[in-house]
Subunit: 233 residues, 2 copies
């Protein structure tokens, strides 16, 4: 049965964090927690009576620092990270096709979606796709650093994500317009960058974006490769 996650927002970096829990269950997972909201996120778990068992990262973020390491230390949750993202301290190094049980009967399916970064992954749970920076509502993540590749992103989205059931809800890693959720069916038909576009056109479009380097990149990426803990890995 399709269940909505709990969606939390960081206004500074426009990042979404998600808490996943089944009705009546105590064990929960969190995806892409943000360091400055460590206390807020713990408070949500406490208020909801949830025990954190797994922390998932969709990739090594360049625009904010994760709280995965602090959450692990505080709750005993396992840190789960894409194997290709250089997040060495995560005890679960995820591979494409993995299925991770995080509570009684709950399972999260791992989909390797290179493109935004070489190691980026998306997660599927109960009809919900947590699409990180791979697929955004009406758009997609940039592809110009950390092994990013517009061709790879195109292949990941059109070959892996757009083949999911049309009703699959898409919960992105960011939104900059006050939007919360989309669906695979809508993105496949209407995504401004990817719907109905040829691969070569998409690569040209991404190459022409000429985006500034993220201000936090030199701090955030090394920090996130250490789960947000002190940078001396």
């Amino acid at each position: 049965m399709q269940l909505n996650p709990i969606q939390l927002f960081d206004a500074e970096s426009s990042t979404f964090t998600y808490i996943l829990a089944a009705p009546g269950a105590v064990d929960a997972a969190i995806i892409d927690p943000v360091d400055r909201h460590f206390e807020r996120d713990l408070a949500h778990l406490e208020r909801l009576g949830l025990r954190l068992t797994h922390v998932f990262e969709t990739h090594a973020h360049a625009d904010h620092v994760t709280s995965a390491g602090r959450l692990r230390a505080h709750t005993g949750a396992k840190a789960c990270a894409p194997s290709g993202c250089g997040i060495a301290p995560a005890e679960i190094q995820l591979q494409d096709g993995d299925r991770i049980g995080f509570a009684d009967g709950e399972e999260l399916a791992v989909i390797h979606t290179p493109g935004h970064t070489a190691g980026s992954m998306c997660y599927l749970w109960r009809g919900n796709l947590f699409s990180g920076d791979t697929l955004l509502i009406g758009g997609c993540g940039r592809t110009d650093f950390q092994g990013g590749s517009a061709g790879d992103l195109y292949d990941s989205v059109t070959g892996k994500l757009f083949t999911l059931d049309a009703a699959t809800r898409v919960w992105p890693g960011h939104d900059y317009k006050g939007q919360s959720v989309s669906t695979i069916g809508w993105e496949r038909a209407h995504n401004a960058r990817l719907a109905g576009r040829e691969r070569a056109d998409f690569i040209a479009l991404m190459a022409a974006l000429d985006l500034p380097r993220p201000g936090l990149m030199d701090v955030a990426v090394p920090a996130n490769r250490n789960l947000g803990l002190a940078h001396s890995v």
Copy 2:
């Protein structure tokens, strides 16, 4: 079974809007939609394949204008408003204890909770309380206009809301700290204004707040009494 709603946010007034839909259902309800997000909210309904049947207002808002009238005109949804809020054009004038069916088998229970305004109401659906400005996460709404009353708010919260099941999720009308959701159990034990406080203490605390008059009040309240449409009721 407890299901999370879809939560949308207006950063300008820190207002939450909620879309309520059961898994697999087409018909949906919306609570407290914000005028400037009319297009955004329609886009969410379209993406999710939902048909709007009911628009609920928790009260006549003083800090933002509703899109209830425009949503009704665009979708054919019924406008549902607390009977004591002077929202005359709403075809369903809600009374305490009403139960409104809004989709196959879905029902929303109406709880009159005077205090923030005299007519304010909260709504209960599948273990979720939509608490408007009556109960906020760790706090409560102000009680100094539109028939507001600190004593009434105390009685509404302690007598009606805090008697709900502890696991009931509390989805507030606003949050100013990046928080999304709480529970009745947590608020009953920890709410900074209401937990363990005597009625007279609470009334004194609210009287001492000395809050400025909302800047939008003279525009928003008359507009909202007309479902956000042109003010000539």
